[in-house]
């Protein structure tokens, strides 16, 4: 690994890319470029785009396989762009790429870095890479304290909880748990309804008692509830008042761990939590990066800083090639949508007048100056919405068709069993399906991300055990993995752990696994009971 400064050609290109980005008014953090060889690149990806990582067999396994594939020619080692955003951002260039490709990677990185700075989920933070490197050092120290065997056991247990990270879920820690440390960065302040002011009246205990609508029983219950909550808070230091989807986040803060174990949890959580941001904003993010990459590259070609515009066009069209909706290409979809949105803003079509216009001819010929800068409006979108809203607001049936999201290769259609009634057009190799349900199907991805939704709903179940809840989506969990996963969570929590999945309750505690049939509890019921400070589930 060497800094880009060591390569005069690339260093010059870097300066030109940053110059044009600044000229175009991009808001950028400090970006540091490094050049890596192919194996370093492969290793970096296995370390989740951080230069170091603690020892673990999983990375070793993936790397051994990858090395074998690269060396035997089964896998290409050319990676398009790899960047760890934050301030400073670290971007990595593959030394096997041509100068033109390196320039396009740098231009692409500019887009990602700006997106990270501006986005609504506030992805960018100070010294992220440095912080993770610090955590790696802490884990390494912890490894010596724990001893090899315990370290590996704990690490492997944590691997089981990696898909239980959800820092941006509406059921994240801040929305589900109250403790005495107050982490309210993401908490939405509820809008309080204005209540009519009570009229002042002279104090009279007798009158108050007569006028008060609360019965003695209700009064007692209210007091009792308050007392319970206070007791729970003082006993455990926290109180779960809503289902919590960020289970690893919970374990990181509240599991009874040693400092060495805590450092592993910290590393695991911090290095993996950016994935949640990526899946929620991938289309906007990649589209934004492609949009600015193209603009900057055209400038570079114009001033002859790089050569090979035809080659670039080939690469660009390859990266931005359309794919069907179920395997959408975020580069293509994002880039095409941002261009479409720019056009909408330019023609003044993002307003109520246009939407309420019923005359089709007028609508088709609509072109009104609004005085708004389209780029400024696009930047505002980056800072206010995620992919879900992006698609919901701007993806239309016409665009589904235009972007070929409803076009499927015949062989693939046969494999996934597309219903013949859904086919509206047939070509040599392709079929086109009805675009109407496509958008809804794409939006549904954002409710589950093709993963089971698991929540923590009780922290005092079966003798201080955790109770997890699998929100029913008509799909069963892989049954033979429930026991080892519960066992691993139990290893971290050091107490019993149970899981409700549909009409079954699985429990693991004291090395005993049990499974029993229960009456299914709907998620809404769980929410309702928790809101009333009641136990969400009784055996």
């Amino acid at each position: 690994m060497r800094p880009v400064k060591t390569d005069p050609v690339l260093h010059e290109l870097e300066k030109r890319v940053i110059y044009h980005a600044n000229e175009m008014g991009r808001i950028l953090p400090e970006i540091r470029f490094f050049i890596l060889d192919r194996l370093e690149f492969a290793s970096l990806l296995e370390k989740r785009v951080y230069p170091t990582s603690p020892v673990n067999i999983w990375e070793g396994k993936r790397m051994v396989t990858k090395k074998f594939k690269i060396e035997s020619g089964q896998e290409s080692s050319i990676y398009y762009e790899v960047v760890q955003t934050g301030n400073p951002s670290y971007a990595y260039l593959n030394n096997t790429n041509s100068a033109m490709m390196q320039a396009s990677v740098m231009a692409h990185v500019v887009g990602h870095c700006e997106f990270s700075e501006l986005n609504v989920l506030k992805d960018s933070n100070q010294d992220r890479t440095e912080y993770v490197m610090h955590l790696v050092r802490r884990v390494n120290i912890g490894q010596h304290q724990m001893g090899e065997k315990n370290y590996l056991e704990f690490w492997n247990a944590c691997e089981s909880a990696l898909n239980l990270i959800a820092p941006h879920s509406q059921f994240n820690l801040n929305h589900s748990i109250k403790d005495d440390s107050y982490r309210y960065q993401e908490e939405e302040t509820p809008i309080e309804e204005e209540k009519p002011k009570d009229l002042y009246r002279p104090f009279s205990h007798t009158m108050d008692t007569i006028l008060s609508p609360l019965s003695v029983e209700e009064e007692w219950q209210k007091e009792q509830k308050k007392k319970d909550q206070q007791e729970q808070m003082s006993r455990k230091g926290y109180r779960l008042f809503r289902p919590c989807q960020d289970i690893l986040g919970f374990l990181r803060h509240y599991a009874p761990t040693s400092s060495a174990e805590k450092s592993i949890l910290d590393y695991m959580y911090v290095s993996h939590s950016t994935h949640d941001f990526v899946i929620r904003t991938q289309i906007m993010n990649e589209g934004w990066a492609m949009y600015w990459e193209k603009k900057i590259m055209l400038k570079l070609f114009e001033e002859k800083a790089v050569k090979g515009i035809i080659d670039y066009a080939k690469v660009f069209s390859g990266v931005c090639s359309p794919r069907p909706f179920f395997s959408r290409n975020p580069y293509h979809l994002g880039f095409a949508l941002w261009n479409h949105i720019e056009k909408l803003f330019k023609e003044g079509k993002v307003n109520l007048d246009y939407l309420e216009e019923t005359d089709k001819t007028k609508k088709d010929q609509w072109k009104k100056e609004t005085g708004q800068d389209p780029l400024e409006c696009m930047r505002h979108l980056v800072g206010s919405i995620t992919d879900y809203e992006f698609l919901r607001r701007f993806l239309t049936e016409e665009l589904v068709y235009e972007f070929h999201l409803n076009r499927i290769h015949k062989r693939q259609a046969e494999m996934i069993g597309i219903n013949k009634d859904a086919i509206i057009k047939e070509e040599n190799q392709w079929i086109w399906i009805d675009p109407a349900p496509v958008k809804q199907e794409m939006l549904s991805f954002f409710s589950h991300f093709h993963r089971p939704r698991i929540y923590l709903i009780d922290t005092d179940f079966l003798d201080s055990g955790l109770l997890l809840y699998h929100r029913d989506d008509k799909r069963a969990l892989r049954k033979d993995w429930i026991k080892p996963t519960l066992k691993n969570v139990n290893f971290i929590w050091k107490g019993p752990v149970s899981l409700i999945s549909n009409d079954q309750l699985f429990s693991y505690g004291s090395n005993i696994f049990s499974e029993k049939k229960i009456e299914a509890v709907p998620f809404e019921k769980v929410m309702e009971r928790m809101a009333k400070s009641k136990k969400p589930f009784h055996e």
């Binding site: 067999i57 790397m63 051994v64 590996l152 056991e153 898909n163 993995w481 899981l499």
Partner: protein, 356 residues
């Protein structure tokens, strides 16, 4: 950021250790079951297959019951991990597990086995090392100013003195020679699982001696007998004849003749292994004892006599027991069930002890 090189060496090492543990388990299983078929062809790499390891998580999937591990590298899906393990590495592990000693090699150890490895680089030679040559040429061109990107000069001159060639280095290893005589009874009473067992034992012995002496330094020769004795190819060693009565002494006599007639006694290590049902007739046992004591024992490193699935009429080991019960050269063993494989091997190759 101070990292000079990004790599996963430590994690790869941890994974290798994990696989080593698995390999040890496999060797343990192989030895416990006595199933030595995993050794495959002579001297070839061993392919080890283990269940793939995946951390278990809450994920969608079927209802099928499978193996999900606990905390130690848990979970396995349908996939398999396959590894090539070198023959020598595998035999190292087996030797370690069985506590087998390295065989005592006698003879002209001063004779060296010579090979050549490309380890050094020199200014003359046949195979040009392009990378090194280019590096030197580039350095020279920078020095002479022919390559100066700042002045828009990009020429690299290749001068004769910059050329670097791969130079073979002589590697010498002591060379010992060994010959192994495998003797088998092919009378019709030796059939079915007896033959299978013979095959398994012979396979292990071949691999063990190859491992100790080097595969090119061992002659493996196969002899069979019923009422006559003759040399056969290995493939014919496991074919059963249809003659009833047998005489084993003639095959011992034959290998002794060959050992003396075809090999230099002073520089060769001799091994002989006899496999049969132990059903001998008349004075056969006495003749064998005479040949062993007078001819074979003075020059052979080791002689193993194994009764495979002995019957009530088997008496070869019984007869030989009086003379060779705790002998350092002649080892007697009975193979009655499959799990006897390892004890029999241990007995055949156990270190030389003083005669009781």
């Amino acid at each position: 950021m101070q990292e000079d090189k990004i790599d996963s060496n430590e994690s790869e090492g941890a994974f290798n250790d994990f696989i080593d543990d698995k390999l040890n388990d496999i060797v343990e299983d192989v030895l416990n079951d006595g199933d030595l078929d995993v050794l495959g062809d002579r001297g070839s790499d061993i392919i080890i297959e283990i269940d793939d390891i995946v951390p278990p998580t809450f994920t969608y999937g079927g209802e099928g019951e499978g193996q999900g591990g606990g905390n130690k590298g848990p979970g396995s899906d349908e996939g398999k991990l396959r590894f090539n393990v070198s023959f020598n590495r595998f035999m190292d592990l087996i030797a370690e597990k069985l506590s087998l000693p390295n065989l005592i090699k006698e003879g002209k150890g001063k004779i060296k086995e010579i090979s050549y490895e490309f380890k050094t680089f020199g200014p003359t030679g046949v195979i040009l090392d392009k990378k090194r040559t280019f590096k030197r040429a580039l350095r020279t061109s920078i020095g002479t100013g022919r390559y100066a990107p700042s002045k828009n000069k990009f020429d690299v001159d290749f001068m004769r003195r910059d050329r670097r060639f791969k130079v073979p280095e002589r590697v010498e290893n002591p060379k010992y020679r060994a010959v192994v005589f495998y003797m088998g009874d092919i009378s019709y009473s030796t059939h079915g699982k007896r033959l299978e067992t013979e095959k398994r034992m012979v396979n292990f012995i071949k691999n063990w001696l190859d491992y100790n002496y080097g595969p090119n330094n061992v002659d493996h020769r196969f002899f069979v007998h019923d009422v006559k004795a003759y040399e056969v190819l290995e493939s014919e060693f496991y074919q059963v004849g249809n003659i009833g009565g047998t005489r084993a002494s003639i095959v011992f006599d034959l290998i002794y003749q060959i050992a003396f007639g075809e090999y230099d006694i002073s520089s060769t290590n001799f091994y002989a292994f006899y496999f049969g049902d132990g059903e001998v007739f008349g004075s056969d046992s006495k003749d064998i004892i005479k040949i062993l004591e007078e001819s074979i024992c003075p020059v052979f490193n080791r002689v193993g006599i194994v009764e495979i699935y002995p019957s009530q009429w088997s008496k070869l080991i019984f007869d030989l027991g009086n003379n060779f019960l705790n002998d350092s050269i002649v080892r007697l063993a009975k193979y009655t069930i499959k799990t006897d494989t390892i004890p029999v091997i241990k007995k055949l190759f156990a270190p030389v002890t003083q005669k009781a």
